[in-house]
Symmetry: C2
Subunit: 329 residues, 2 copies
C-alpha cells in the first residue's frame, strides 16, 4: 500500500520526528489525464520549516493530517495522459511519499542535460534557480565584484559559489566545520570562513575582504547578515534568500551594523524563486553550458528510504548536509 | 570679531553642550574670487551627529577644533567675485558661524520662488530633497499606494507627508505627542500614530493600515522599522533615510519581523541625498508648483542667536522640534 509522511503536529521552535506520521493510503485508480509516478528521489528543503507554521505567508501552510508537499522525482509507471509515457522521468511537488497520482499537467518531464536525475532537485532545480537568479538578477552581481555567501556548503550556497566563480567574481563563503570548508574551497571559493571557528564572524569577513563586499547572498541571517552589513561597500546589494538562523527561534534578530545601510547606500532585497520559474529555459541553457564546461560540481547528502525522510529534513537544521540533502527511495 | 562654534570633543552616546566651544576668529580680507556672507539662518540636522564621530563614513568627520560645518543662508556683504553681488541671498555649507568668507564657487544664489529664504534650509533645501527623492525615486511610491513615514513632524517627514498626499497616496505618519500628531494630521495625513502612546507601535500600525503598507520612509529605525516589516505588503519598498533611534546608542537594533523581507519580497534601500543634488532643477520645478497650489505648508522651530546653536542641535534628539529646526541670527 502507498505510504506517505503526513504532518501530525506543528512544531514550536525546532521541529522533531514527532511532528510527522508515516501513513498508508489505499492505492487509487487513475482518472482521465492522470499519471502514476513511482518516486525515486525526494527533496527536503529549509523553506519547508516555514510551511509547518500555521501563519499566512507566500504559500499556504502544510495541512495537518495531509502528506508533506515538496519536490520529488520519479518514473511514470502508469499513464492515462497523452503527453506523458510510462518510463518518463518526471518532477512534481507532491512530496514525501513513495507513489504519487496526479494530473499530467502537474508533472514536468526532466530536460535531457546528461546529468543524474537527482540534480533536478538540486543545482538544476529549485535550489539552483534560487542561487542563479538571486545572484545574477536580485543582487545584480557582476564580474570583478566580491561576493559573500553564507551556508556555502548548502544546496543553494554551493551553487552560488560556483556560478559566481564561473562569472568572474571573487567569492567568500562561510560554512561550519573543516570538512565543509574544504569542500567549499574545492568548489573554487577564494576564501572560506569557518563560522564555528574562534574568530568572530565580523572580524573573519573583514580579513577575507579587506576592501569590503559588493554582494551578500544570505541564507542564514543573524550574525552573518550583521557581518555583511559591517563590511558592505558603497552601493552593495544583499539578496536575502533565507534566514535559517531564525526559522526555529522566536528571538529577535540583533544587528549592530544595520545603520550602515544609509552611509553605504545598501540595498537589501528579499526574494522568492517562484517568479523565476517562467525563465526556466534561460536558466537551463546557461547552467547546461557551465555543467558541460566542468565549471559546476555537485554533491549530495543522501538518506536511504522513505522512513528516513524526517531525519533528512531535521538534519538541515543541525548542519547535517554537504550540498543537497536528498532521500533516495 | 566673527564667532563660530567649534567641535571641542567627540561625544560617546548622546552629545552635550560641552562638545562645542564658541570661539572668536579675527576677520580676514577677501582674496580674489571670494565673498563675505553675513549669515541669517543656520541649519541643524540629525545627520550632523554622525559627523561628530571619528569614523569613516560617506563624509569626513568634523575636525576637532574646527567650526561645525552645515547648511547656512546669508546675505553677501562684500564681494570680490563677478557672479555674486553685495545684497545677494546665498546658501553655503560653512555652518555654525555668524560670518563666512569663502570662494564664490562655493555659494549658491537662492532661486526666486517667492518663499521665505529659510525654506531653502527646509522643505526647499536638503531635507526637502531628501523627502522628495526618497519617496518618489528610492521607494518608487505611486498614487494609490499606502505610505508609512516615521518622524512625520520632522523636517524631512513632514515634507514626505505633504508630497505623498499631493501625489495621491494614503499616508500614515508617526510622531511623538498630541501636539505634533495634530500638526501632522493638519498637513493631510490620513492616520497619525502617537508613538509615545500606550498602544504598541506594531499594533497601532496594523490598525491604521489593515491592508498593509506599500512604502515605508524611515527616519527612526528600531521599533518603527520593525512595525513596518510586520505590516509590509508584497513587494513593499523601504527608503532608509535615517535611524535617529540609534545615533546616540550602541545597543544593537532588535528586529522581530526581519524575516518577512523574504516572504513579502521587501526591498530595503539606504540612501543619501547628495547624488540627487544634480537633479535640483527638477526638484525646484515640481516643488514650486506644489507650493503655489497651496499643497505644501511649512513650519519651523526657531532658536534665536548664534549662542543657541548647540541647544537647537541637541533638541533634535529629544523631540524638541516641530518641522525644521533652525537658528536665526
Amino acid at each position: 500500500m502507498p505510504r506517505s509522511w503526513t504532518l501530525k503536529g506543528r512544531p514550536s521552535g525546532m521541529p522533531t520526528a514527532d511532528n510527522f506520521a508515516l501513513t498508508e493510503t489505499p492505492s487509487t485508480e487513475l482518472s482521465n489525464g492522470e499519471v502514476r509516478v513511482a518516486n525515486r528521489w525526494l527533496s527536503v528543503d529549509p523553506y519547508m520549516r516555514g510551511r509547518m507554521n500555521d501563519t499566512k505567508s507566500y504559500v499556504a501552510p502544510f495541512a495537518l493530517g495531509e502528506p508533506m508537499q515538496g519536490g520529488a522525482i520519479g518514473e511514470v509507471v502508469e499513464s492515462n495522459a497523452d503527453a506523458i509515457k510510462v518510463g518518463d522521468m518526471v518532477q512534481h511537488m507532491l512530496g514525501w511519499r513513495d507513489e504519487a497520482v496526479l494530473p499530467a499537467s502537474q508533472v514536468q518531464k526532466l530536460p535531457d542535460l546528461g546529468v543524474p536525475v537527482q540534480q533536478f532537485l538540486g543545482m538544476l532545480g529549485m535550489p539552483g534557480m534560487t542561487a542563479y537568479w538571486g545572484l545574477l538578477d536580485v543582487a545584480s552581481a557582476k564580474a570583478g565584484e566580491t561576493v559573500f555567501v553564507s551556508a556555502a556548503a548548502g544546496a543553494v550556497g554551493s551553487t552560488v559559489v560556483q556560478v559566481a566563480k564561473a562569472k568572474g567574481m571573487t567569492v567568500i563563503g562561510s560554512a561550519g566545520g573543516a570538512d565543509k570548508c574544504a569542500w567549499v574551497k574545492s568548489l573554487g571559493a577564494d576564501h572560506v570562513i569557518d563560522y564555528k571557528g574562534d574568530t568572530p564572524l565580523v572580524k573573519a569577513l573583514g580579513a577575507a575582504a579587506p576592501e569590503g563586499i559588493d554582494v551578500y547572498f544570505d541564507n542564514v541571517g543573524g550574525d552573518h547578515l550583521d557581518a555583511a552589513l559591517a563590511h558592505a561597500r558603497d552601493a552593495a546589494r544583499f539578496a536575502i534568500c533565507g534566514m535559517i538562523d531564525g526559522y526555529n527561534s522566536s528571538t529577535p534578530t540583533q544587528l549592530k551594523y544595520l545603520m550602515r545601510v544609509i552611509a553605504a547606500r545598501i540595498r537589501i532585497q528579499g526574494f522568492l524563486v517562484t517568479p523565476y520559474f517562467a525563465r526556466a529555459s534561460e536558466f537551463y541553457e546557461d547552467m547546461a553550458a557551465m555543467v558541460k564546461s566542468g565549471a559546476l560540481q555537485s554533491q549530495d547528502t543522501v538518506h536511504d528510504g522513505l522512513d528516513a525522510t524526517p531525519d533528512a529534513f531535521l538534519g538541515l537544521f543541525s548542519g547535517g548536509n554537504t550540498g543537497k540533502m536528498l532521500v533516495k527511495l
